[in-house]
Amino acid sequence: MSSVAVKKGLGASVWEYLTTVDHKKIAHLYLGTGGFFFLLGGIEALFIRIQLMKPNNNFVSEQLFNEIMTMHGTTMIFLAAMPILFAFMNAVVPIQIGARDVAFPFLNALGFWLFFFGGVFLNLSWFLGGAPDAGWTSYASLSLRSEGHGIDFYTLGLQISGFGTLISGINFLATIINMRAPGMSFMRMPLFTWTTFIASALILLAFPPLTIGVFLLMFDRLFGSNFFDVTMGGNTIIWEHFFWIFGHPEVYILVLPAFGIFSEIIPTFSRKRLFGYSSMVFATVLIGFLGFMVWAHHMFTTGLGNVANAIFAIATMAIAVPTGIKIFNWLLTMWGGSIKITVPMLYALGFIPSFVIGGVTGVMQAVAPLDYQLHDTYFIVAHFHYVIIGGVVFGILAATHFYWPKMFGTKLSEKMGYVTFTLFFIGFHCTFFIQHFLGLMGMPRRVATFLPGQGLELGNLISSIGAILMAVAVIILLFNVVITSIRNKKVGADPWEDGRTMEWAIASPPPFYNFKQTPLVRGLDTWWLEKMEGKKELTPAEPLGDIHMPNNSIIPFFISLGLFVAAFGAMYNPLNSVGDGKSWGLPVLIIGLGITFGSMLIRSLRDDFGYHIHKEDLLEDDKGGKVG
């Protein structure tokens, strides 16, 4: 069954996206859904800043504030940043390594739909009794006590989404290890592929502890276990350990792909190869490795003892070294280059100082006794927003502009892009720089309001004004997307003119099979190499032949839907701690699991050999006829 792209109606397009296993279309799905959640998280942020604009404000109630604050963090990290990064990994990495798709296209789709249904489930909490309200970290004693089902939406929703992430992590690892084109050794891989590789390894090893921690919380709340009930022998600190053993690598899962994106953008718009490629690879691996050694720096005030605090303090400081190596290599890439300040490059230029500020406050927080003052204050909030926005969000915005042509065949307006960047950059610093001082002046974090007469009024007001600027910037970006889509002006394969890696050698967007002939990789920055030798195309590694492609399938959708249904059953089961168990709880749980496992069984019982595109049709394509 080939997915032939003849003139399609809306229904056919919807079905195509529901059943696609094509990494490029899955990228669209991730970008759109992740983008939607980014807007949702942004609105939640705006509400936070409006509430905190003045002391004793009552824009939202305290309970609602806790829900908004929790959902802001949870949505932004799990439902916006990670999925959008997955969008770019999907769109770009297979092509960067010269492959036709990922190792497991079916699982790729499954990963998306699990994320989708997990995210939807979590956000249904708003309509079904209230969102989770214990922070995105959901510490065990508070989250056990939380009334209503908010926390249950958190545990169940994140569990479903988390499976998706785990599956995608394995997928990219296998893809990068097994499916590189001939000639592409590990040390010829583009940096974005390297960072995807390491981030995927982090996902594989960091998500299971979260899975277990969340299961323990889920079991305590829904099935009567006692992991965190101190009166029954439980221990709440176990949650903290599990959460942060996951949570710290998680921030590197977020930032490494962003680093990878900048490692593509900076050389492209400096017309110069990445300075210190081997060091950059080494630094990436080291950051990934060290990322697992530092989790208790989130627990300096928990009472682990002087020895533990000292060890984790030093380990945390160590991560600054490979990160610094990267910053200097990026700067030296630009040094001696021919810099063109396009919108992606603008974000890269904004990223360097912003991320460095965030990084150095991180080193300051690593000084454990200093952290006794800084922990759980607005200083921490300032720090992580500096690294997440300065690093990850700038990376995402940069990649949106940079890869838009490759994903959609059009190019976002540079002019509007400049406006978005400027407003966003100013708003970002306006909001978060002052927060360092608010924390130092005694303002704890996660406060629904602050009291007058404590010196906190001016800082909070300034901080809130910045949020409005960022909101306007995002609206302009949305406008940019809409206008670009309406104008629909097509661009060529290498619209930035200086593309270095293989994705810029094929059409924008690429044909669904990516490469007619698997390319031969003759060196690092493969496309640049070919261009410098005057070639107009990549060197093929094989003769033209039939191409084997995977079939579409609706089954990933149903596997995920089953878990979504099961989650409701689990939440309302008669044993739950909220006390509103229903008689249909257990049956619905079983039916949901039945849909999931049944779908898996259907998939396994059938043979699915995919289909072949015939050589003759590819030649047709060459002559301008449509094959797909």
Binding site: Y139, F328, I352, V363, Y372, H375, D376, F433, M441
Partner: protein, 356 residues
């Protein structure tokens, strides 16, 4: 360039705001050796980091000004440089050295600030030398027990200046965190174990801050997390001893003098407030029974419910409708007392003083 102008503004802001904040609340105005140590660490680490930022910014600005693509150079391909071993070594070794120098004060301070072994030192009579306070965090109030003195109070922590005050910290319901920013960093109050640390309150700084430091809960604990402030009265040793003695003498309830106050006492008892709230400082009940703030010396409290200005109107409003001020509090949502009963109660409670 955009960033240049912005960075200058930030630098200015930094200078202006350093040493900013209120003396009773800001970590930038340390009021004791613990906070001072921590501020010193802030300055050391900031200085080292500013050095790093400076180097980055200088290279960054040079790059931005020298290497932009010029008109007429549209087709120029710059020299493709693979890297530099020398530079890699330099920018690996120097940061390592900087971090090593930072790690020395870090480890030293970790062990110094975490040294609580003197907490259990006893004199020749077997009495504990140091002052120890058992802090119990609850939703949304703080209990302070002085085990060696046999007194319990709440919301207002009274401490002597110029000596180490040790704390045993725990929580009775959910995780909270005990933080007096001007005096030093925080320590979590867990439900699972007891944490220990100490703070010191400097006499001069205390005088500057009006002898009242603000304490905060620093761990999200529910809707009223932001309202879980407590206060620290830092007074001279003599004043502290005077207060402690008065509290110790407060074995039986201070009998109300005026009629209105007597009426208030009756309202207090009729509504069974005594079931949760002790009114004497030597509450012998076990922890699990002490489910509400101890009201001994309530007449000398600095705030109502930890956050409201201390006056009769606020006290009455709090008693009538605590949910309005601290949503989710464990007292009750609303009382149904008449205006008369509230007046009497307020008179009674504000008359609970162990000393003037």
């Amino acid at each position: 360039m955009k960033f240049g102008r912005l960075s200058f503004l930030f630098l200015l802001l930094t200078l202006v705001l350093a040493g900013c904040g209120e003396p009773f609340l800001s970590t930038l105005k340390p009021a004791g050796e613990v906070a001072e140590t921590q501020l010193t660490l802030l300055f050391i680490s900031t200085s080292i980091m500013v050095l790093v930022i400076l180097v980055v910014v200088i290279i960054y600005l040079i790059v931005l000004f020298r290497f932009r693509r010029k008109k007429g150079e549209e087709n120029k391909i710059p020299k493709q440089v693979e890297g530099s071993h020398k530079l890699e070594i330099i920018w690996t070794v120097i940061p390592i050295l900087l971090l090593l120098s930072l790690s020395v004060p870090t480890i030293a301070a970790t062990f110094k600030l975490g040294d609580v072994k003197d907490m259990d030192k006893v004199d020749k009579d077997g009495n504990r030398e140091a002052l120890v306070v058992n802090v119990r965090a609850n939703l949304y109030w703080w209990e302070f027990e002085y085990p060696d003195l046999g007194i319990i109070t709440s919301q207002d922590l009274v401490v002597p200046t110029d000596e180490k005050v040790y704390f045993n910290l725990k929580a009775s319901d959910v995780k909270h965190s005990f933080w007096v920013p001007a005096a030093g960093g925080k320590m979590d109050t867990n439900t699972d174990n007891e944490n220990k640390f100490y703070l010191v309150f400097d006499k001069e700084k205390a005088d500057e801050a009006g002898n009242l430091f603000y304490g905060k809960c620093a761990e999200l604990c529910g809707p009223s997390h932001a309202y879980m402030d407590f206060k620290v009265k830092a007074v001279s040793r003599d004043e502290f001893n005077q207060w402690a003695t008065a509290m110790q003498k407060n074995k039986e309830e201070v009998q109300p003098t005026s009629d209105l106050a007597k009426q208030g006492q009756e309202v207090f008892q009729a509504n069974n407030c005594i079931a949760c709230h002790a009114v004497t400082a030597n509450d012998a009940r076990p922890e699990t029974a002490r489910t509400a703030p101890n009201l001994a010396d309530f007449g000398n409290r600095t705030r109502v419910a930890g956050i409201l200005e201390y006056n009769e109107e606020n006290l009455k409003a709090w008693i009538q409708n605590p949910e309005k001020f601290k949503p989710g509090n464990q007292m009750y949502k609303e009382a149904n007392l008449s205006e008369e009963e509230l007046d009497a109660l307020a008179e009674y409670l504000m008359g609970l003083k162990v000393q003037e």
